[in-house]
Symmetry: C2
Subunit: 423 residues, 2 copies
Amino acid sequence: MAKTVRIGLMGLGTVGSGLVSLIERNAPIIERRSDVKLEIARALVKDPNKKRPLPDDKVTLNPRDIFDDPSIDIVVEVIGGIEPARMYLLEALKANKNIVTANKAVLAAHGDEILALAGANECQVGFEASVCGGIPIIQALSSGLIANRVDELIGILNGTSNYILTRMSEEECTFDFVLSEAQEKGLAEADPSFDVQGIDAAHKLLILAELTFQVKAQMNEITVEGIDRITPVDIKTAHDFGFVIKPIAIAVRDGDNMDLRVHPALLPKLHPLASVHHEFNAVLVKGDAIGEMIFYGKGAGSLPTASAVLSDIVEIARSDYVVPVWNPQKSIKFAPIESKSRYYLRFPIYDKPGMIGKIATVLGDHGISITHAMALLECNETNKGNVMIVTHASKEQDIRHALADIQKAGTLTETPLAIRMLE
Amino acid sequence: MAKTVRIGLMGLGTVGSGLVSLIERNAPIIERRSDVKLEIARALVKDPNKKRPLPDDKVTLNPRDIFDDPSIDIVVEVIGGIEPARMYLLEALKANKNIVTANKAVLAAHGDEILALAGANECQVGFEASVCGGIPIIQALSSGLIANRVDELIGILNGTSNYILTRMSEEECTFDFVLSEAQEKGLAEADPSFDVQGIDAAHKLLILAELTFQVKAQMNEITVEGIDRITPVDIKTAHDFGFVIKPIAIAVRDGDNMDLRVHPALLPKLHPLASVHHEFNAVLVKGDAIGEMIFYGKGAGSLPTASAVLSDIVEIARSDYVVPVWNPQKSIKFAPIESKSRYYLRFPIYDKPGMIGKIATVLGDHGISITHAMALLECNETNKGNVMIVTHASKEQDIRHALADIQKAGTLTETPLAIRMLE
């Protein structure tokens, strides 16, 4: 006998509508596979006049119509952002309803509060859709790989940034040009800053790190750099050296020290994440039992996200209450791990004889060895240009100090750029 | 309060020993993440004199010491093969114990019987380790991707075959040479026929297809071809055309018709599975909501398999009994789907003028168009050689008939080889 689950849907935008249409289309498949019958009981909307994929009597402007309906089993929040999403999730839990959310921002900022109330009220919380859309990475990290000590996790977690860098590489055009294209295609928001500045990826990294390493970090403990300063020259130079530039998020542990970082990086072309293109996401996990494992798929979009939300709903519907486990390791400190890495550096300059010499000398003074140096003038007949340098493995601190000294010398036209090169 | 789970381990070979050492090493991690404490209560062995990673009082020669011990919660079978594994699993279920198995052969042949008894006795069955070792693909297909209509699944499911073809491609050496190397490294069994003839991959495909498509197929409904007839010439020719040869398993559905196949195939070098090398496994799933998704990792070996077994144990320990759902679609028929595909063909010949002409003419008579044809003599001064042909998209049936006609003409030194080329 199939069990009917009544869903209260908060939000009927891209993901909400995707959810409604996926249930309509695949309800028989889901029921055959799980004996769970899904029904949207009611959906909360903001604008009463917009055309909706649901009959009028199922749409409401009043969130209490969902919280106060005892027939509703699960509240699904797909509004995004912090408020009113946070308040809705807490109200749903107060009404003893299980919750499913796709909202990484609210989890990164208020996950503790939400999980604590869920625990107190014995409600379940599903958040598979909050990271990497349709890829079941939350389930894999919290269950499938549970027997592993994970030492490193690298992900391409933000589809917008990956799309922009991929297109810049394919078309040899500027960040701004590709950003407009991505906005037209619906692959970037009107205000893209959360995506291109790495904040969205940092929210997701926080969630993945908590699950994988059982640690509680704050946003300000993550080093975050965006992709918005990368130019076609950087992509071309990286390519010539056999690398691609990818927007990565890394969590790496060394004993009780943990380093969480979001930034662009140069990956060798044969690196397993180097072939993750366009809006695709991927997560590489290094575990002591499994070795290297990769999960690859669409990280955003209406249907992939709806797929993840539905898997949470079915999982909650068919299992009894499972006590959530949250024993963070208090001993872990968050700080950059001073491992050495090679760096790609770009110094914007006015072209004059001796520029490479000056820059290389300061780098040398800081103990930084150079493997390649080249200068390139811009094509636009100013005498502006760039000096590009690839270093041997160096400490981040040394690079930072050297860059500050070079900037102080006053010969640069803009702030220099430093991007790590991964092995 | 952590819940202690007592494990009865049937078999203390490669996987069993891996399980013991993984529990020893990572028990604190598992407990912190799940509140489940694991304890090996007793292990069944065959040889009482072999050195074991467990104290003597935990080792037994008598399986009843496990079935009849009321303190044992879960029986883990890592013996492999059909009997006595099947009998042990059924006895464990009769004693109302949950079971976890890594055994694809017994599931492919007797899965129905085992699941039926588990259902009747309200016992749980975990079999994550039976396909793709450490990759949590069973969980992904049965839960994470549950909301998707899947139309196609392609996997590299047998690590031994993939290792052999990868090494043949890297070293330009023969199947037999690489097989010995693989056997020395422990990557191939003393009797490798299950692996290299595609039977092991077919067992796994059967399990994946059942979960993904909710169908019940038999081994004789799968088209199975091994990799043992592939020569360095085939790999080199494929390479020259921009392809790699990979041992794949495919499940594809077209309406109520389903095609299950295991065979080598030529994949374009940019195909997402073309870069899956050595003993690695990968599964590509095409779902209507998620699009293309790939899971990649180590498909065999002591610790990856133990990782999957442990994830099943923890999952069973922390959830209450979940009614297994098994509603196979009765309407599905298993038969080759007559889609067209390009083919790579190799005809072993005695070198004589006109060989390409003769072969090409017969192919033409069967409506098969050729894009490339080439002849190559062997280096060993016999006048033996091969004619290699790449066709336009053709029907399998036409290829089969043409090959039979060419063989009948009596000019070949051996049976010709036909390998599909995937897009």
